[in-house]
């Protein structure tokens, strides 16, 4: 999860200071985009979701409670928007999975773009995740890829711990099947 922004910055943004809000956007934009991209697998859609997410954050900033992390709040907004996009059109989802394959080489990676194997795995997991149900996908991304705690996942998705674990079990099982198939066909399991 991204580092927290100073409370003073949030307070100034709540008072209508757009410069303070710009700092918040700059601070959280990378993580917001990474999460959205993991859900949607498409740069254009991810950018749209990030934009809409920050607009929603700005509109509702006056409801901000300091006891809740701003990142948790932003996660909730982004995940809801991503799930809306995923649920809105099955056709779009299929298109996205195709684009993941096509755009794989064009996707921009931060520190490990030289690691071809990681990139290949990234594409494979992204593709496998696109076949999960929206809830399974959300739980898998937040818990396994974003490395959030079960409590954080529960809070973001408004789900019980039992529900999160159940979705996680099915998601990991499916993911395992996909990875097994892939490494059986390409015979790469020995290289990992």
């Amino acid at each position: 999860m991204a580092e927290q922004v100073p409370l003073e910055m949030i307070t100034r943004a709540i008072q209508g200071d757009t410069d303070a809000f710009r700092d918040i956007v700059n601070h959280h934009q990378a993580f917001a985009y990474a999460v959205s991209y993991r859900f949607l697998g498409n740069a254009e859609d991810a950018e749209d979701v990030v934009q809409e997410g920050f607009i929603r954050l700005w509109k509702n900033l006056h409801n901000y409670k300091p006891e809740v992390k701003l990142t948790t709040w932003l996660y909730r907004i982004l995940v809801n928007l991503c799930l809306d996009v995923l649920k809105s059109s099955q056709r779009k989802q299929q298109r996205n999975s195709r684009e993941v394959k096509e755009e794989g080489a064009l996707a921009h990676y931060s520190a490990t773009d030289d690691d071809v194997r990681a990139q290949e795995l990234h594409e494979l997991i992204q593709e496998a995740a696109s076949e999960l149900s929206p809830n399974q996908k959300a739980v898998f991304i937040l818990r396994d890829l974003e490395d959030l705690t079960v409590e954080e996942v529960c809070s973001i998705l408004s789900m019980s711990a039992g529900n999160v674990k159940s979705n996680l079990y099915y998601a990991r099982q499916q993911m395992s099947e996909k990875l097994k198939k892939y490494y059986q066909t390409t015979d790469k399991i020995t290289t990992i």
Partner: protein, 170 residues
């Protein structure tokens, strides 16, 4: 506990409590199939963890920030404009002006109503008792109009015959 229950625990190993892990570890140590599954699942989870460090980044972060801020500022302007209209409508002067206008309209409506009441009613024709209605005048006028119609019909028939004859001679 049977193997299918341990299978679920293997997939959810990270979420298990310390005691649950100990029990699962003991089972894995003695069960061949669960041990094989655990080895496979843990290896795959390691692969997923490796992927979690790979994060897609925005091609042009500054452009995206500007795009977000533009839409935020556009929304702010719209809100402040509607706020301006709301404050104007909420001012005391506008309130008094609207009240005065309403009173004027009510007064105008009342005056209009009054003038409409002054319209003279249509004079009633009083028919004296014992008067017998004379229908001969009505029939006279009816016969006159019928005769007129017939005359025009014969004139038109005459002119049609004449034109027909003219066409023939031509």
């Amino acid at each position: 506990m049977n193997c299918s229950e341990f299978e679920k625990r293997i997939y959810l190993y990270r979420e298990l409590t310390v005691t649950e892990r100990e029990i699962t570890d003991q089972h894995i140590a003695h069960c061949e199939s669960c041990s094989a599954l655990a080895a496979q699942v843990f290896q795959q989870q390691e692969m997923v963890r490796m992927v979690s460090s790979v994060k897609s980044t925005v091609k042009d972060p500054e452009w995206l920030t500007q795009r977000i801020m533009n839409s935020v500022e556009r929304k702010e302007k719209r809100i402040s404009r509607s706020d301006g209209i709301a404050t104007f409508l909420d001012s005391l002067f506008v309130r008094y002006a609207f009240s005065a206008l309403s009173i004027l309209l009510i007064a105008f409506f009342y005056v209009e109503q009054q003038s409409a009441d002054q319209v003279q009613p249509i004079a009633k024709i009083e028919i004296k008792e014992g008067t017998v209605l004379n229908t001969s005048s009505f029939f006279k006028s009816h016969l006159n109009s019928r005769q007129k119609k017939e005359t025009t019909l014969s004139i038109s028939r005459y002119s049609y015959n004449r034109s027909e004859r003219l066409v023939k001679t031509l």
